[in-house]
């Protein structure tokens, strides 16, 4: 494609792992590439900074993953989490993604990313995911180093304010000066809009003011909204988020993995009025974090308290923040701002109903891990929700081209990562899949954008 006024062949909007994979793939395909990262250099990498592993298909053990995880197993796991939203899933795309995930670890390793050995004894056993050595920020550092080494131009502190997709080659407006950058092809890999509290309020009202964001403060979703306003077909849902229960003292942004609360299923969980509202033993596996995110988001004031005694406290990993403690339930209630009588009667009723690890005769019941809250000192953690990402994206095809509502593709406009993950995940969440989607579609988008730029 000839374009005298273009600043580069491929312009990548975003600075997380999908954007980096796109930039590297495009550059390796011979394109000149400019990457625009909204964050300053120390905070580069989007939510990938907080990631740890990626879910990959493999028919036999690899140096990085044990056992085997055939495509059909992966597909079945996806089906299970997408659940009710599965009608929004593009099954062909999901199959393409699963197949392409098989060699993505090799490709990343070839670009400098280091993985744990599959037989590494320090890790929990996993036949489904490969772990980044040093975690996501180490991956981000490696990919930036690879991109720089290949000659990708990288600009930090470069927030994209607008996309121009109507006349000629795609262009973006960047920074406070709204400088226009035009390219033969565009890859949008700027994630969701979870850091845009105005956007969250549109769906959740004032409750949104109580949310925290577990990842980057730069995921404001401007490019996503611009694509939708330009007529891109949406995927996923605007009012659905991936979220988990976090310690109420977590920072507003970038709390990452360590602010998750581990102990909720062990004690009791009460709302700000001091009343239990859910079966704490209903989910005790890895999905407990997500399950509680959903529950707490619907609590009055988006606030709850995890309450436990000295014996229960030994059974879970403590929060990184100290527990709020008192020698009596009434004293604890006062410290939490709850009416003492309410919490005392909640605990008394719960203790009276507890026997043999479960409860009888109370609503809601506690079906597992039920133990009396009786041994002082009593402790509590405030609980809020932390959003990992939003579940709204744009529809893409197998070449990662952004699709219009009529099913046609935008010329030279591609998307990768969380901004198109709802094509595969709907509004579901499958551990380690977002990083795989980012890398797989980043690679496809970069390659396709380079091809488009050259033809």
């Amino acid at each position: 494609m000839a374009c005298a006024s273009c600043d580069c062949d491929v312009l990548v909007v975003g600075g997380g792992s999908a954007a980096l994979c796109a930039a590297i793939a495009a550059r390796r395909a011979g394109a000149s590439v400019l990457l625009l990262e909204a964050a300053p250099k120390p905070l580069r990498g989007g939510n990938a900074r907080h990631s740890r592993n990626m879910r990959v298909m493999h028919d036999a053990p690899t140096p990085w993953v044990r056992g085997r995880y055939p495509a059909d197993d992966y597909h079945a796991d996806l089906r299970q989490v997408t659940g009710a939203a599965s009608n929004t899933i593009d099954d062909g795309l999901a199959r393409l993604f699963i197949d392409a995930s098989a060699d993505i670890v090799d490709w990343l390793a070839g670009n400098g990313v280091r993985f744990h050995s599959g037989t590494d004894e320090v890790l929990p056993y996993s036949r489904k995911t490969a772990f980044f050595l040093g975690g996501g920020k180490a991956l981000v550092n490696a990919l930036y180093a690879a991109a720089e080494g290949l000659g990708v131009a990288i600009r930090y502190d470069s927030t994209v304010r607008a996309l121009h997709l109507r006349d000629g080659p795609p262009a973006v407006a960047v920074g406070d000066a709204n400088a226009t950058i035009r390219a033969k092809a565009l890859v949008v890999a700027s994630g969701g809009f979870q850091a845009d509290f105005g956007g969250l309020r549109q769906q959740w009202g004032e409750a949104a003011g109580e949310f925290t964001v577990r990842g980057t403060p730069h995921a404001t979703g401007i490019p996503l909204k611009a694509l939708l306003e330009n007529g891109a077909e949406p995927a996923g849902a605007a009012d659905r988020y991936h979220w988990v229960a976090v310690d109420g003292r977590a920072p507003l942004f970038d709390g990452g993995i360590v602010t998750r609360l581990d102990g909720l299923p062990h004690g009791i969980v009460v709302d700000r009025d001091g009343r239990r509202f859910a079966d704490e033993g209903a989910v005790v596996g890895p999905s407990r974090y997500t399950a509680w995110g959903e529950l707490v988001a619907r609590c009055p004031g988006v606030t709850a308290f995890s309450v436990f005694d000295a014996a229960i406290a030994e059974r879970f990993r403590p929060s990184i923040f100290p527990p709020i403690q008192a020698d009596s339930i009434g004293g604890l209630a006062s410290a939490l701002g709850i009416a003492p009588q309410t919490l005392e009667s909640t605990v008394a009723a719960f203790n009276a109903a507890t026997s043999g690890g479960t409860t009888a005769g109370i609503r809601p019941p506690k079906t597992r891990l039920a133990a009396p809250v009786a041994v002082p000192p009593f402790g509590a953690y405030p609980v809020r929700v932390g959003i990992t990402s939003t579940c709204l994206g744009v529809r893409v095809d197998g070449r990662a081209r952004v699709l219009r509502q009529d099913g046609t593709a935008f010329e030279g406009v591609h998307a990768a990562g969380v901004i198109m993950a709802p094509n595969i995940l709907g509004t579901g969440y499958l551990a380690g899949s977002a990083m795989s989607i980012g890398a797989v579609f980043g690679r496809i988008a970069g390659r396709e954008a380079a091809t488009h730029a050259h033809c």
């Binding site: 905070l43 280091r114 040093g134 920020k137």
Partner: protein
């Protein structure tokens, strides 16, 4: 008391950092610290002593850290552990009377080291200047026994032996105190297999390998430079020690007095070791000067560099002595070299050198925990 306040603040800061690390554990493939941390629910004072000395200060965890500054958590584990480690040298110094009195950081630490080393050089040089005739001291000396005409063998063995004995005693008792300071050893761990593992960890510096591709010596990119320079230095020291041992056997048991010909074992070991020490010290110092300052405890850099400088001077003066031993410079060079070696011996228990035995003890403890199934 400001020192106690400082120690309290340093410990609290490191404990908070380790608690966040324990909730994250993304770095668990980098080194032995994180798997050891994972077996602990909370971090006691003993754990701090142990983990801070198990840390090889490779800084990979800093560059991989999602909570490093400018994050509000301001996590800087290498720096936090460096400060605790330095405090543990102070806590376990022998004799304990010196505990609060010896500076380990900043210019005072450098000044103490310089003063001790200069005193050692003076201790060797002044008697020689007073009692050795100038024509011997500044004349060309060669042939068997040339060194001992300047400094009698008995004086060398007596003074160096006394300094070395004191230092070994002090280091040994310091390490014993440190071993107790890490808390009770895990029950059920067999010592010998753990010892073998710890020796292999120390000999290969596995924990400076960053799980394979090296560490963040200077910035967020990985390299093996620090590990290789440290190998050059420590194996250089070992070769020089071997050279001295062989020479002692030659001189004492076989009756062949020094100096030895260039093709002899003492000269081969010594020159190879000396070159290794020069390369190692210069390389480590350059890495230190060019490293990203963010994860480094700047207050400790002076004392670190003082030890590197001393070891460089010991090696360089030894190599100089070898090169110029047939000339008139031999006499002064010999006095300086012996004085520097004496100064190094004297400061062993009170300098950064302590990191070696303390780290080995921590590696042994970690291996025992792994085998004991803590």
């Amino acid at each position: 008391m400001p020192i106690a306040d400082d120690a309290h603040r340093i410990a609290a800061n490191a404990r908070r950092a380790l608690e966040i690390c324990n909730a994250c554990q993304f770095c668990d493939g980098y080194c032995a610290v994180f798997p050891a941390l994972k077996t602990r629910r909370s971090v006691s004072a003993e754990d701090l002593t142990f983990l801070s000395n198990l840390c090889h200060n490779c800084r990979s965890c800093y560059h991989a850290c999602q909570y490093a500054p400018p994050h509000v958590f301001d996590l800087n584990l290498p720096r936090s552990l460096s400060l605790v480690r330095q405090q543990s040298y102070r806590d376990h110094v022998w004799p304990p009377l010196l505990g609060g009195r010896l500076p380990y950081a900043g210019w005072p630490a450098v000044a103490v080291m310089v003063a001790v080393v200069l005193s050692a050089v003076a201790l060797v040089a002044v008697p020689a200047l007073l009692w050795v005739p100038p024509e011997t001291l500044y004349g060309r000396q060669s042939g068997p026994g040339a060194f001992y005409r300047l400094v009698p063998w008995k004086a060398i063995v007596g003074v160096a032996g006394a300094a070395m004995s004191w230092s070994l005693l002090a280091v040994g008792l310091g390490v014993a105190s440190f071993w107790r300071g890490m808390g009770p050893a895990p029950a059920g761990a067999r010592l010998w297999p753990a010892l073998r593992e710890a020796l292999s960890d120390a000999a290969t510096l596995r924990n400076l390998g960053g799980g394979g591709a090296g560490c963040n010596d200077r910035n967020e990119r990985f390299s093996q430079a620090r590990r290789h320079f440290h190998h050059a230095l420590s194996y250089g020291v070992a070769l020089c020690f071997a050279s001295t041992c062989v020479a002692t056997v030659y001189d004492h048991l076989l009756g062949w007095p020094a100096p030895y010909p260039p093709a002899s074992l003492p000269v081969l070991f010594g020159s190879l070791g000396g070159v290794g020490m020069v390369v190692g010290t210069v390389g480590l110092a350059l890495l230190k000067l060019r490293a990203d300052p963010a994860p480094v405890a700047a207050s400790l850099t002076g004392a670190d560099c003082a030890l590197l400088a001393l070891l460089f001077l010991v090696a360089a003066s030894g190599l100089g002595l070898l090169a110029l031993r047939e000339t008139a410079a031999m006499g002064p060079l010999l006095l300086v070299h012996l004085g520097l070696v004496l100064g190094w011996f004297a400061t062993l228990p009170y300098s950064k050198f302590l990191h070696a035995p303390f780290r080995f003890a921590a590696l042994l403890r970690a291996a025992m925990e792994r085998r004991g199934g803590r």
